[in-house]
């Protein structure tokens, strides 16, 4: 799981162009939106694409995404259970 969390942090930093942020800066239990990383609605859409592209997980409902993207830890748990690649 730790490996998946680290991989996820690296992917988030790269995909969302988070300048000056390292994996160590991201607390896997901290909220991804609303504070901390300062992500916006376009970032949320990029995360949906990331889930599909890397892990074969399709998120079609916005409310579903809201739950899954609460933190890196919750994302990683969801990926572990639902990944198809």
């Amino acid at each position: 799981m730790e490996e998946l969390i680290l991989e996820l942090k690296k992917e988030i930093i790269e995909v969302l162009n988070l300048e000056g942020v390292t994996p160590a800066d991201i607390d896997e239990n901290a909220p991804l939106f609303g504070e901390g990383l300062g992500l916006d609605s376009i970032d949320a859409l990029e995360l949906i694409v990331l889930m599909d592209k890397l892990y074969g997980i399709k998120i079609s409902e916005a409310s579903e995404g809201k739950e899954i993207f609460k933190s890196v830890q919750i994302m990683a748990d969801y990926i572990k259970q639902h990944r198809t690649k």
Binding site: L16, N17, E19, I42, D43, L45, E46, V49, D52, K53
Partner: protein
């Protein structure tokens, strides 16, 4: 080849949204930053009365091609939302407006070549609007690592006229600091 991120860091600009922009918006943004950093554009004019107008040749084609790569292969079809939002050239005027809290009208024109005549005519037309007293105006071309940026800040004269001539615009463009 100009590295836009290096310019950002060189001038110690603090605006993390910069890193999410496409190259065209980054280049135009940097041009506006360099113009605005030493002057208070709202020292006498409200930001509600300042407009933005930019011109270029390639619109957003540089980013369009990168976006196209995300949808080219039906087996690997992952359209990127963050690239998609920059598939319109006029987005850069919005980025400059948001950064500088400018609330006047914004417009963007795609034209074959840099044209002082067209730019001058457009400035005259914009300044006919009595509520517009200042204008960030520029040529903002970026395509395939070629970057050509001119941003000017123009204010109406006390008698409500545009004081900028076609020759002024030509001279500014021909004396541009960075061209590659």
């Amino acid at each position: 080849m100009i590295n836009l991120e290096d310019i950002y860091r060189h001038f110690k600009i603090e605006y993390l949204k910069f890193f999410k922009m496409d190259s065209l918006a980054k280049a135009a943004f940097l041009g506006a930053e360099l113009v605005c950093k030493d002057i208070n554009i709202d020292r006498t004019i409200s930001k509600k009365d300042i407009a933005i107008v930019c011109f270029n040749r390639s619109s957003s084609l540089d980013n369009d091609m990168i976006y196209q790569n995300t949808i080219q292969d039906s087996e690997n079809y992952f359209p990127s939302p963050s690239l998609f939002v920059y598939t319109l050239g006029n987005i850069l005027t919005g980025e400059i407006a948001i950064r500088n809290k400018i609330e006047g009208e914004t417009s963007f024109y795609v034209t074959e070549n840099f044209s002082p005549e067209l730019m001058h005519e457009t400035i005259e037309a914009i300044f006919e609007n009595k509520s517009i007293n200042g204008l960030l105006c520029g040529w903002t071309e970026y395509f395939n690592d070629f970057c050509d940026i001119l941003i000017m800040y123009i204010e109406k004269s006390n008698d409500n006229k545009n004081v900028v001539t076609k020759d002024n615009i030509s001279n500014c463009y021909n004396n541009i600091l960075w061209k590659n």
